[in-house]
Symmetry: C2
């Protein structure tokens, strides 16, 4: 019987071969997957113990046929077929950009990223990783940023269970290097001609576990938080190219993958802008599924207008600049880092829960997507932002409340309303924008009322949202024309306007 694969699930072909030489460098393996209407060539990869794999994500229902190509006879010209069937209920495909500044899945379902960050949750051992997945299952997040490499930094002094390359740490790490981003390669510690399949198999498992929770895996391919602990921030470009090809071959067929080329690209002292461009262009070229590609900054932004960048992944605490960024890039804005709720010493990690929620509302009401993180000190030093585990902050359930509101908007994306000036004497229309739906957030402002100019060709419902108390109060369902809406005169209030 022909194997059945859901549309946007992945088909995996496993082949076995033993051959002299280095399977990572010496063996080529690809396959053509062919449907009545299209043909796709994908790369295979070596998965250790004589096992080669080819993964493929079909995006058309019906019968697919494949045939392999290899320089090793035993892997070459293998063929077969499978049936691609309708996706199951929770499978909407791959997230892509629509309407310039928003996201949707392949099947058209809107996707509003509500992300969190756990940089190396995937390198903490089974118990904590299980705990993290449980937390994610209960939480409001539908995207998570994490790294393929281990991280050395404050609150991150543990070693991973294994490493991406054969080799070992040969020198005790020198704490004096903390925060000094000078390149410290350790090419003699690792054999970069080989990958450690076990290490990458675990990344597979993590990505698939997230997929099953409906969470996009925003995978960080390079990060500067090494400080000489492993030298993985100094891997030569030639090796990086092989790693990227390997990751695309392994993970590209997983529908929930996003490629995040860097956390804080600008902290790397050994990579020029053009090197980043080359990595992104390489993946753009070899990824048959066109997963999203972004690059995240510490201070100055990368030039997000470049065509190989699908959306802006931003670090900034000043969300009032969102309209400027839209003007500049006209791409979806994902503010992956605007500070984290917590109580550590550093200012990026000690926002009040209220401020975290405030920034979420500020960003979402301006049409951007804001990301969460949490950095509360605990005795185990398992801070969510890096290691995952449990959440203890005040913002998470308010973010869940916001997500629900965002997802209730019937349209993809959402418009903004711009309330008019308050003059009691001005009756003129002509101020403001008149969408059929709108969300306006007042933040630290506490207006006791707003005058809103609505089109007179319909009636409108207005709800008052208390973003902290998580209440929605109907202010009236029959607004039209120039209206006065009385407001509670406290901070953290938003209004939602919907056409009847």
């Amino acid at each position: 019987m022909t194997k059945k694969i859901e549309k946007w699930d992945y088909f995996e072909l496993e082949l076995r071969a033993t051959a002299p030489g280095n399977p990572f460098l010496d063996i080529t393996l690809e396959a053509d997957f062919t449907h009545t209407d299209k043909s796709v060539r994908v790369a295979g990869f070596f998965d250790g113990e004589g096992v080669y794999k080819i993964r493929f994500m079909p995006d058309l229902e019906g019968s697919w046929h494949f045939v392999t190509h290899s320089n090793l006879d035993v892997l070459d010209n293998k063929s077969g077929s499978f049936d691609c069937v309708a996706p199951s209920e929770k499978n909407h495909g791959v997230v892509g950009v629509i309407n310039q500044t928003n996201f949707a899945f392949s099947d058209g379902t809107p996707y509003h990223p509500v992300g969190t960050t756990c940089y190396v949750w995937n390198l903490q051992g089974e118990a904590l990783e299980k705990k993290t997945l449980e937390t994610l299952k209960e939480g409001p997040f539908n995207k998570i940023r994490f790294c393929i490499y281990p991280k050395r930094y404050t609150f991150n002094y543990n070693e991973p269970e294994n490493y991406p390359f054969p080799g070992e740490v040969k020198e005790k790490w020198n704490p004096q290097h903390q925060d000094d981003y000078s390149p410290r390669p350790h090419d003699d510690w690792w054999d970069y001609d080989y990958f450690n399949p076990e290490y990458f198999q675990h990344i597979d498992d993590c990505v698939l576990a997230l997929r099953d929770l409906g969470i996009e895996a925003d995978l960080i391919l390079f990060h500067p938080y090494d400080f000489g602990a492993w030298g993985f921030d100094c891997i030569p470009e030639k090796v990086n190219n092989r790693i990227l090809k390997y990751l695309v071959a392994r993970l590209g067929a997983f529908r929930n993958i996003w490629w995040s080329f860097a956390n804080e690209y600008d902290l790397f002292q050994n990579k020029a802008i053009y090197e980043w461009d080359r990595y992104m262009k390489l993946v753009e070229k070899i990824d048959p599924y066109h997963h999203l590609r972004s690059i995240h900054n510490c201070r100055g932004f990368f030039d997000h207008s470049k065509s190989w960048i699908s959306h802006c992944s931003i670090q900034s605490k000043d969300l009032s600049l969102i309209p400027k960024w839209f003007d500049e890039y006209n791409k979806p804005l994902v503010i992956d880092e605007c500070g984290y709720e917590g109580n550590i010493d550093r200012d990026w990690g000690n926002l009040t829960g209220k401020e975290m929620v405030h920034r979420f509302w500020q960003g979402f009401s301006l049409g951007a997507y804001v990301g969460h993180g949490e950095t509360y000190i605990n005795p185990q030093e398992n801070l969510w932002w890096s290691k995952g585990g449990q959440l203890q902050g005040d913002s998470t359930r308010r973010i869940a409340f916001l997500r629900k509101i965002i997802e209730e908007f019937p349209e993809i994306g959402f418009s903004l309303i711009k309330p008019t000036s308050p003059s009691f004497i001005r009756k003129t229309a002509g101020c403001g924008i008149y969408p059929e739906i709108g969300l306006h957030y007042f933040g630290v402002h506490q207006p006791s009322f707003k005058l809103i100019n609505l089109p007179e060709d319909g009636t409108w419902q207005i709800d008052i949202i208390d973003t902290w108390e998580m209440t929605i109060t109907n202010a009236g369902s029959n607004f039209s024309g120039l209206c006065r809406v009385d407001l509670p005169g406290k901070e953290g209030i938003a209004i939602r306007i919907r056409k009847n």
Copy 2:
């Protein structure tokens, strides 16, 4: 007996004359005031009813002699003398700039402006003006911004009791003009060849009443909130020059005068940058006392680096830019407008009390001076920001608490501390600035601790300040070297570091 005048008080010579023609245009009057060590020429002014006055503020103790010069015989060559005696306890002289970015009085007493705004409190009639002065007497403010001309704007639809020029409002104001800054001169309503002395006498009274409360009068010479109600924003330059000379002659001798050339200069559609420059340069030239000169913006800043501008009078809600502004201008920064506490519709007038206090602390801890305003709706529509009256907000008493802390700093101005990074493992010094005194404010951040690198050549007292609860808690009096300070882990906390 020779008259005695306190140093920095004013001497006034009153002369009487009747003559044909226009006393404002046809009569010249000046006087030379001579002390052993210096001689100062000052202008006189016509005060109505045949009265001419010459005011002079002496800045040296001892005997002063004067002699007048006029083109009218009866006013010419009048002479006399007075004794300048030591100032009384609360008289510290004129505020000027010291140490590039701070202020002090003539006698060296530091002056930290803690200002408020009541744009036209002086044009509201006796009862409300008296109330305003009572409120100011109890409050924390030592500077107030107000206008010489009446104001038309939302919540400002009343007429003043009289006008600066002979004439009358000849047309009912058209509310459609609200917010339209197009020039609407009414040169045919007013006789700009004459001033109405009564109108200006009242400004004298207001400035002196403020002086007696220890409050600097930051007098706004031009503002754009006219909208055709009177056309005072469209007075011809030639007339404006006469008004400025008249104001300098009348008010210059009052020690608490500051010249604010505009509220929101950039909203005038009929004045080029060079016209503003000419006004400021004129006053710079004719004001013998060199009172402070500033010009306030709505959006884009005036170029505060020009030599005739003594300090930056800024409107901005983004106080994180303060270090940039210091870099750019190297002058005192007075953020006269960063939004007001209140609950009106417009975002500049509906900050929570907490946000107002937050902005005060944010600005002061960065070395700038933040100004207050209040815009709570009340049945009489007497909003403090414009008409004065009573205060009802939450910020005022917290601002009083802050003022007390600022004034307790023994030095002029105050330094900043920059706490080091929190790394548990880093023992190196070399981070941060090491003043002998410091104030650091954490705002929306809630660190549970901070590591601070103090010099090892002394011991230091650290206090934890709750800016909202207005408490000061000693965290220890014997800190030295690299120290950990435990903090309450809530928003709105500051620390103060003082050397023992």
